[in-house]
Symmetry: C2
Subunit: 130 residues, 2 copies
DNA sequence: TACAATTCCGACCAATTTAGTCGGATTTGT
DNA sequence: ACAAATCCGACTAAATTGGTCGGAATTGTA
């Protein structure tokens, strides 16, 4: 249940897209050199970030990625949730718990609400300020 | 990165140990019927909870488990951390990040500190009150 | 038009973690 | 002696993560 390298690479990629971006597009090649992982793998992560509307891209020469909106409007939670598998939910919350009258729905919901609250309280802009 | 069934079963087991316990010892057989999973698997989880000093046990006839201390002094975070693998930490925090001058140490540390704070703010007693 | 730079896409594989089983050994009260 | 329990290590299966590969499609530029 740690943040896996998927989430870690994703956060780092978003950080560099934000930092180097502006009007420029940032390429996977640049990101892979900055982060230190393969282009092939990063590509998968960028695809997820794009599907979640956190970045936009153009193909072809001079193409690459940039943020879909200002860094202050992109939360750490949004980034992690789109990369990690079913992050911060559980059977007892999403309705698939098979226990009759699952007695723990409320506490699990509370746990996840609080964690998501923490993550959505921090934005990409907070990473840039460091 | 969801709370896996390990964590879920563990929280539920602790809940029932707290609820049925008091002076009594609660057995794995009871827990498995209440939670709906195998005795064999629960046994592994109880072993971890014991190693973390969250429960105490006696063997033999009339044996079983009970809390090592009052429910109000056992946090959700303590339960989850002892069951899940390296929960809420990451390379960039624990010193194994190989990036030179990892620029993200602070933000990752902040994320984990906040999440652990949330989890350690809730105790087993909060589960009992539901 | 050719070409290079780039994202995009699906199939595949390896490593790790999670989930679960099994066969006993040990302890304890009756 | 026996039954009810925890304890323990080895094993397997399933799922997820981490990563690779080959090529298709798009775009700017010479």
């Amino acid at each position: 249940m740690k943040i896996s390298s998927k989430g870690r690479y994703g956060l780092q990629a978003m950080y560099y897209v934000a930092k180097l971006g502006g009007e420029n597009y940032v390429t996977i090649n640049q990101l892979s050199r900055l982060i230190g992982t393969s282009e092939d793998y990063l590509e998968k992560l960028m695809a997820k970030l794009k599907r979640a509307d956190l970045v936009v891209s153009t193909r072809g020469n001079n193409g690459g990625y940039k943020l879909s909106r200002p860094a202050v409007n992109i939360t750490i939670g949004q980034i992690l949730r789109c990369l990690e598998n079913g992050i911060f939910t559980s059977k007892c919350v999403d309705g698939t718990c098979t226990a009759a009258n699952c007695p723990h729905k409320d506490i699990f919901t509370l746990i996840y609400t609080k964690i998501n609250g923490v993550l959505d309280d921090m934005t990409l802009n907070d990473m840039l300020k460091e």
